[in-house]
Each structure stands twice: as C-alpha cells, then as structure tokens.
C-alpha cells in the first residue's frame, strides 16, 4: 500500500483551514478535515479534531478486534473529537461556533473503514469506476437525495456551502461509518475545495492515469486551482495492493 497527500491554500484564501493526516507507525489511518470559524479558529478546529481522532484510535486499536468493534471505535473517536472541539469553542469567545468536517479511512484486517461528518468526500476508484463513498452532509446534498434537484443543479447551487452537520458545533454529532473489503483500488479523500471545481469525470481521469500518487495529487490540486481555487484544497490518495499476505503496507 502506498499513500500520498497534498494540501494547498488555493488562489483566494489567505490561510489554510484544511488539515490532513496520513499513516504513521503502522497505523493505517488517513484523515481529511476542513475547518471553519473566524480568527483562524477553523485551523484550530480541524487540527484539534485530527489530533483527537489519532489519539483515540492509538489508544483503542488494540482492543478493536472485530469489524463491529472497529466501527464502534471510529464512532467513539469522532465523538471524542467532537467533545474536544466543542469544549474548546466554549472556552474562548474568538472560537465560538468553530467546527470542522472530518472524513477518515482506516485500513485494518483487509477491510476499509470510513468515518464521515460534513462535506469532505471519500471516493473509491476500482475497475475504472469512480464511486463517492460518503454522502455530503449539506443542504444541497439532502435536496439531491430527496430527488428535488439534480447533481448538475447541485454543483452550481448558490447555497452549496451550507453544511448540516459538523464536528464540534454542538454537544452531539451525527456520524456515518461504513466498511468494505479491500480490493485493488485507489481511495481518494478530499476537501470540498477540490470538488467545487473539479468534476467526477476529471477526478476519474486523473486517478486512472496509472501515474505515481504524488503526481496524481499534484495534478488534482493544480486542476482545482486552474478552475478557480476559491477554497483550500486537500487531497489524500491511498493505493491498495491485495496480496496473499494481506494488505501490503
């Protein structure tokens, strides 16, 4: 397995409120978080959330033996992140109301585990098909799922920046978790700075180009900047090669 990440402030913003994490010390964990809030609180929120998730999973991973327990652990980790960000936001006026999206991938025992809150996304490219694994927790996303508007209308909707669920903005948080078996695939985690500008067809084109992951990440970020770069852009690409030994890391 190999992984690569890239983040960019974009062409319009002055600061980068996105935060990411990729695998270290044998823990196959990948996170993208897109923070929000004034006075740089967005940067704080995404960083605190990522650190909390890491800490929680580090502590608990040895106990999580079954896929149900791992799902439970991911819920626990994101709830912990929620509590930490929320607590901090209440402690300082300048941080009032801050929060973050959070999309994570954990690879464990030949399984992919996803945890998700907000409008960052996880995609899987497999057999030349690109699938969005996560559902956007946005007003517009809900309209699309309800069949009220089309995907195409959603992409240019003026209120597409309104998210309905975030880590740290209230005492509790709604979390999606799901898992599936590892096959030979590329997984992409990204903040909405990518998907605002770059279409799924374009993403699919880049991911299936057989290039190195670092090239893929750079090309995606360049595309988003080339098509506006209105927001911070973060991409994390992970390539899984299934061997007899299990997942190669």
């Amino acid at each position: 397995m190999e992984a690569y990440a890239k983040t960019h402030t974009g062409k319009v913003r002055t600061n980068n409120e996105d935060c990411y994490f990729i695998s270290d010390e044998g823990l196959n964990l990948f996170i993208v978080a897109d923070g929000m809030g004034g006075h740089n609180a967005g940067e704080v929120a995404s960083q605190v959330a990522v650190d909390a998730v890491k800490k929680f999973i580090h502590n608990e991973i040895s106990e999580a033996k079954t896929s149900d327990l791992i799902d439970e652990m991911l819920l626990g980790a994101i709830r912990y992140a929620n509590a930490e960000v929320y607590e901090l936001s209440k402690s300082k006026e300048s941080m009032e109301g801050m929060g973050t999206t959070l999309t994570l991938l954990l690879i464990q025992n030949k399984m992919l585990y996803f945890g998700h809150v907000g409008d960052s996304r996880a995609y899987i490219l497999k057999d030349e098909t690109l699938e969005q694994v996560t559902q956007d927790h946005t007003l517009v996303g809900e309209l699309v799922r309800a069949g009220t508007i089309t995907e195409e209308q959603a992409r240019v909707h003026p209120q597409k920046n309104i998210i309905t669920n975030a880590v740290g903005t209230s005492l509790t948080v709604k979390i999606d978790v799901l898992h599936r078996i590892v096959e030979n695939e590329i997984i992409l985690l990204c903040s909405d700075g990518l998907t605002t500008h770059v279409t799924e067809d374009q993403i699919k084109g880049v991911l299936s180009s057989d290039k190195q992951l670092d090239t893929i990440c750079s090309e995606l970020v360049d595309m988003a900047n080339g098509q506006g770069g209105n927001d911070n852009i973060t991409v994390v690409a992970v390539k899984c090669n299934l061997s007899d030994e299990g997942v190669e890391c």
């Binding site: 002055t14 929680f56 912990y80 509590a83 809900e142 309209l143 998210i163 309905t164 909405d192």
Partner: protein, 651 residues
C-alpha cells in the same frame, strides 16, 4: 467588538453604538464628521475579511447598490475600508424591522396597511430592478419601517456575495429559506420575479401571521417551496379581502411566468385595490352588511317621489285649465274630483312582522300600501340577522294606506373581536376573555419552546369575529419536553473515552479531579459523580475523579511514622472501593472579581489537592466532590485565604 465604539473610520465616521448584529456584519450608529449627520455603518465581520473572494464580491455588490436612490430603499452613501475593517455607510433609519413590526402587532394587520406596505416595497424593488439589481434575499428582517411609516428595503444584492465559505446552517440562512423562491431553492436562474415571489411570501405572512411553507429543517422548507400547494390566506384570516388574496397568490406562483412579470404590474394591481377593493377580483362577494342598508333607502326615495310628481302634475293641469272655457272647466273639475276621490286612503290591518325577514316585510307592507322605515339595527341573540325585532304598530291595529311603519331590524347576535391571547399566561387569558364577554373553552397542553403556562395556540385566532359567550379553545405550553438520558458507566475508562461516551448521549463533562486509587490503574476513572444507570436530564454535567495510580507505599513508609496513628494506618489499607463521596457546595463569596478556589484534603500528613480552579464572582456555586476513607481534614481556600477547615469522617 466593543473596541469599535469611539473609533473613527476613514477619518470620517465616528462609531457611537452598536445597533444590530448579523451573520455577516455588525451595524453601528455613527456620526459622519464631514456632513455632521448620523449614519448607520455596517462593518463586515473580521473572519469574512480574510476571504478575499467574498470581500471583492461584497464590495462589487455594495457599490452597485450604492448607485440606487429611492425613498423605499435604505440608501448607501459610501463603501470603504480602514485597515482591515471593511464597511458600508448607509442611511440611518429610525424605526423597526418589518419582522419586529409583525411580531409586535396584536391581532391581524388590516388590509389597507398590508396593501400600503406592499406598494412601498414594490416601489423600492421597481427602482432596483430598473437598475438591473436583484435583491435575492427579501425577508421581513431586511425591511425597515421608520417613524413616519415609510417602508425601506435594505441589503440589496449582498446575498449574492456569500458563496464559497463553508458555513453551518445558521438561524439566518434558515430565515432566508422561508422566503426564497422555488428557482432559488433549486439553484436555478434568478431574476426580478424571484424578488416578487419573496415579497408575495412576505405579504402572505403579513396577512395571516403565518409562513406558507415551514418545517423543522431548511431542506424541507425548500422542498415545500418547490412542490407544495399553498393554503389560501383567507383560510387563516377571513378578514383578508379577496382582492388582496388574489394579488398574494399571483405573486407566489411556482412558475415565474405565472407571477407578476414586473414590480410595476404588481403596483398597478395594488393601486386598484387601495382605490376600490372590489376591482380586479374574480370571486368577490359583497360584504354581508350592505344590502340591508341599501334596500330601505331606495324604497324611501321611490315612495317620496311618486306623490310629489303627482302633485306637481295636478298643479300644472290646474294652471293650464284656469285659462280655458267653463265647459271644459266643469269637465276638468269632475276629473279632478275623481282623482281626489281615488286618492282617499283606505284602512288596512297591520300584520305581525316580528321574526319575519326584512325583505319579506317590505313586500308584505308594499302590497298593503304601507311604507316601512328602519328605525334601528340592534344585536339580538334570539332573532336572526336581518329579521324584524320590533314594529311600531301592534299587529291587528288599523292603519291608513300610505302610513309609514317603523321597524327595528336584528343584526344577529353581538359580535366581538377575539383578542390575542398568544404568549399570555392562562389566568391572564381568562381575564381578557371575561372582559370581552367570551369564555375559555377546552385547554390542551403541549410541549413548546415557550415557558410552561403560556398560551401557544388559540381557536378562533386573534382578530376573528365571534359571537358573545363563545368558547375560545386554548393550547397551553407545558414547557420543553425534558429529554432524559441514562448515565453510562465511566469507571475504568480513560478521559478520551469518557468524553466520547458522554458526547454520544448528550451529557457534558464536569470537573475532572485526580486522586490515588488502589483498585483503578493510573488514568482510569475511579469515581463518577452520577452513577451509571441513573436517569438525568440532557446536558447534565458528570464529574469524574481519575486515578493517579497507587499511592506510593515507599513514600508513606519513608515519612515519619509519628504522623500516623495506628488506627488511621488501618484505614489507609481499607480497599479503595469503599471510598465515600462527600459533596460540598461552595458559594463564591470572595471580595475580588476573580479568585482561585482550592480544596485540599489532608490525610495522614499527605495533602491532596481535590479542586483548584479560577472562578469569576458571578459564576454559579462550585460543587466539589471529595472522596476518601476514614477521617481527613478538608480545607477550603479562596486564593491564599483559608475560608474554612473541616474534619470529615468518610465512614
């Protein structure tokens, strides 16, 4: 943001006080030092200033809006920046927002007033649309009414500036979604007809005090705008004229092509309505009271004029005859006498008209050659509206033909306006109803965000006409539903696990303190302030004591044995699971504004700090749980001052 007060922006605008707060900006009253006048200054929130795309759009839109000048628009004087501060200088409007106006209005707003407000908003929009500026966010919060009743629309085009920043659904966004058109909800093409739609929704709210499309979450409201059929406003408020209703319904057609195509078209209809409410009204039904008023008048005129005409004709005939020969005069005299003879009144018998419909009574008397005069209209709970209550001549009495009978006609039972009882206390509501000769009807209780005991709904609604002694049914708030949760087990868990577990069930973490434990390993929770399984209200705080691990036996051994009595030594060996909690409530009675509150427990010569935190004088009383075994001294400090020392027996 209080550092803004007193500041001078752009060497020209001196900030005086904050007058409003919004998601994008704060609004201050300021003095323009150049023109020596008061203005309103809208200062963009600092966190938005770092978003350059937003700022440039905001500036572009504000400058476009600054080109507008109309009495029904809050005029923009200047757009500027001073260091990091971005601001717009606007006309200072002394008045209230339309939202506050609606909320503050007891009962329904009269038709004429709604028409007047609508016309003024439409005039503001017409001016903007002529300059190719679409408002995009017409809602009562954006419309002001000044002290002279002039309506002014604010924040033109600014809605367009918000795009790329990620925001969580705010109260403000939810406010807008109630008024945004189907094409806005769909993210489609927006033009002046979208503003007309939003204005239509606003008029609907003015007329009925209800939003036509409402829901718990923005998405359901947006979907209703797109799909759901609207309930006719008159279903809620019968006082709305049919004309006004058709104007509202036309403005909020889902298909923009079916709406008014311009503000001018709308203004023309509103003009017609204010001159004559019956115009432009397909299904208009005449008000119930008028026919009974008109009929007697017409009859009176007829009865009065006919005899007059006869008399004058006779006069002319006589005048002409006077100049003619005698023979003809004789014939003429004969003719005259026969006329006079025919005019001699007959005697008729007065019929009984009590309880007879007025129109029927007119006919009955007509056939008897009697006249009728309505002397009075009275309320009568026994006799139906428009029927005769009294007649001046008793039935059976003999009257000469042509006699005028006075009658009193019933207006039906007396009607009273149902008063507004919403948000009033039940007992107060009862008093108000008694004063209006109405009764309190069924009372139901429901959960509501209003404090318990206040009226949430009433039927009939305020402003409706009702018969005296009628019942008004009430729905009364029983407060918010108290959501309870079961406290989870926290013992043995780490702090991250505790936070995660509590977040899952909507409980918050209270104080975290540390103590030695023989049975819980280091960093594990040894005590939770509310035991697991207990049912508590949501958002309750649960405090925990976390183990510092075993109290190092070497240290205790190393200290002088004289500090320990044999008895206490025995107690220190008692298993920690026998720990007993003592809860102390500490009132913050210190003299300074802030002070550190510290609680320490001294046992066997070992001092444990149980609690140490800085508090503001205005904080709530501090609750401290001290747990231990055997006997100990507990000392309470405010800063360095010991305020209390107690001997505590934990057994």
């Amino acid at each position: 943001m209080n550092q803004m007060i007193g500041k001078i922006l752009g060497n020209r605008y001196q900030i005086i006080e904050k007058i409003g707060e919004g998601g994008m900006a704060n609004v201050y009253k300021a003095k323009c030092l150049l023109l020596n006048r008061f203005v309103a200054v809208k200062v963009l929130r600092p966190e938005l200033v770092s978003d350059e795309a937003f700022v440039s759009k905001f500036e572009k839109e504000s400058q476009a809006a600054a080109s507008l000048s109309n009495p029904n628009i809050v005029n923009i004087y200047d757009v500027g920046k001073d260091g990091d501060v971005r601001y717009i200088v606007m006309e200072l409007v002394r008045g209230v927002t339309l939202k506050a106006y609606i909320n503050g209005h007891d009962g329904y707003i009269p038709n004429e007033e709604i028409i007047e407000i609508a016309k003024q908003i439409a005039q503001g929009l017409e001016h903007a649309h002529a300059n190719r500026i679409i408002h995009r966010d017409i809602k009562p919060h954006n419309i002001l009414i000044n002290e002279d009743g002039i309506v002014k629309v604010a924040d033109f085009g600014i809605a367009r500036a918000v795009t790329s920043s990620t925001i969580v659904t705010t109260q403000e966004a939810i406010g807008s979604v109630h008024y945004s058109s189907p094409e806005q909800a769909r993210g489609g093409f927006v033009d002046e007809k979208s503003d007309i739609y939003s204005l239509g929704i606003l008029l609907y709210e003015l007329a009925t005090k209800k939003l036509p499309f409402d829901g718990d979450v923005p998405v359901s409201v947006a979907m209703k705008h797109i799909k759901e059929k609207v309930v006719d406003p008159t279903q809620f408020n019968r006082e709305i004229g049919k004309g006004l209703e058709s104007v509202i319904l036309k403005a909020i057609q889902k298909d923009p092509m079916n709406r008014y195509q311009s503000s001018r078209e709308l203004i023309e209809d509103l003009d017609k309505l204010s001159k004559n409410p019956e115009l432009n009204v397909p299904f208009y039904v005449q008000a119930e009271d008028s026919p009974t008023m008109i009929i007697p008048n017409i009859n009176d005129i007829e009865f009065d004029e006919k005899p007059k005409e006869k008399k004058s004709r006779v006069g002319i005939v006589l005048g002409v005859l006077a100049g003619l020969i005698a023979a003809i005069l004789l014939i003429g005299a004969f003719t005259l006498s026969s006329v006079l003879d025919r005019m001699k009144p007959k005697i008729v018998e007065m019929p009984d008209l009590e309880g007879v419909a007025y129109t029927e009574a007119v006919e009955t008397l007509h056939t008897l050659n009697l006249n009728i005069n309505v002397k009075d209209y009275v309320f009568d709970s026994n006799i139906e509206k428009n029927k005769i209550v009294k007649q001046s001549q008793a039935s059976g009495s003999e009257l000469k033909e042509g006699f005028t009978v006075d009658v009193v006609v019933s207006n039906g039972p007396e009607l009273v306006k149902v008063p507004n009882l919403l948000q009033k206390d039940v007992s107060e509501a009862k008093l108000i109803l008694e004063n209006k000769a109405l009764n309190i009807g069924d009372i139901k209780y429901e959960y509501s965000d209003l404090p318990s005991g206040l009226v949430v709904k009433q039927s009939p609604t305020a402003g409706a006409s009702s018969v005296k002694d009628m019942n008004v049914d009430l729905v009364v708030s029983q407060g918010k539903p108290i959501e309870t949760v079961i406290v989870p087990n926290l013992l043995g868990k780490s702090l991250p696990q505790v936070k995660s577990t509590l977040s899952n069930v909507s409980l918050s973490l209270g104080n975290v303190t540390y103590n030695y434990s023989e049975s819980y390993s280091k960093d594990a929770v040894m005590i939770q302030s509310i035991s697991s399984g207990a049912e508590v209200e949501e958002k309750t705080s649960v405090s925990v004591v976390i183990s510092k691990g075993s109290e190092n036996p070497e240290t205790t051994d190393g200290t002088d044995a004289s500090s320990q009595t044999p008895g206490t030594e025995g107690e220190t060996e008692t298993p920690v699971s026998n720990l007993v909690d003592k809860t102390y409530i500490i009132p913050l009675s210190f003299a300074t504004q802030k002070e550190t509150v510290r609680v320490e427990m001294i046992q066997n010569g070992v001092t444990t700090i149980v609690y140490e935190k800085e508090h503001d004088k205005s904080d709530e009383n501090v609750r401290v749980v001290v747990s231990g075994t055997g006997e100990a001294t507990v000392n309470f400090y405010f800063g360095s001052l010991r305020v209390k020392s107690m001997q505590v027996n934990f057994n």
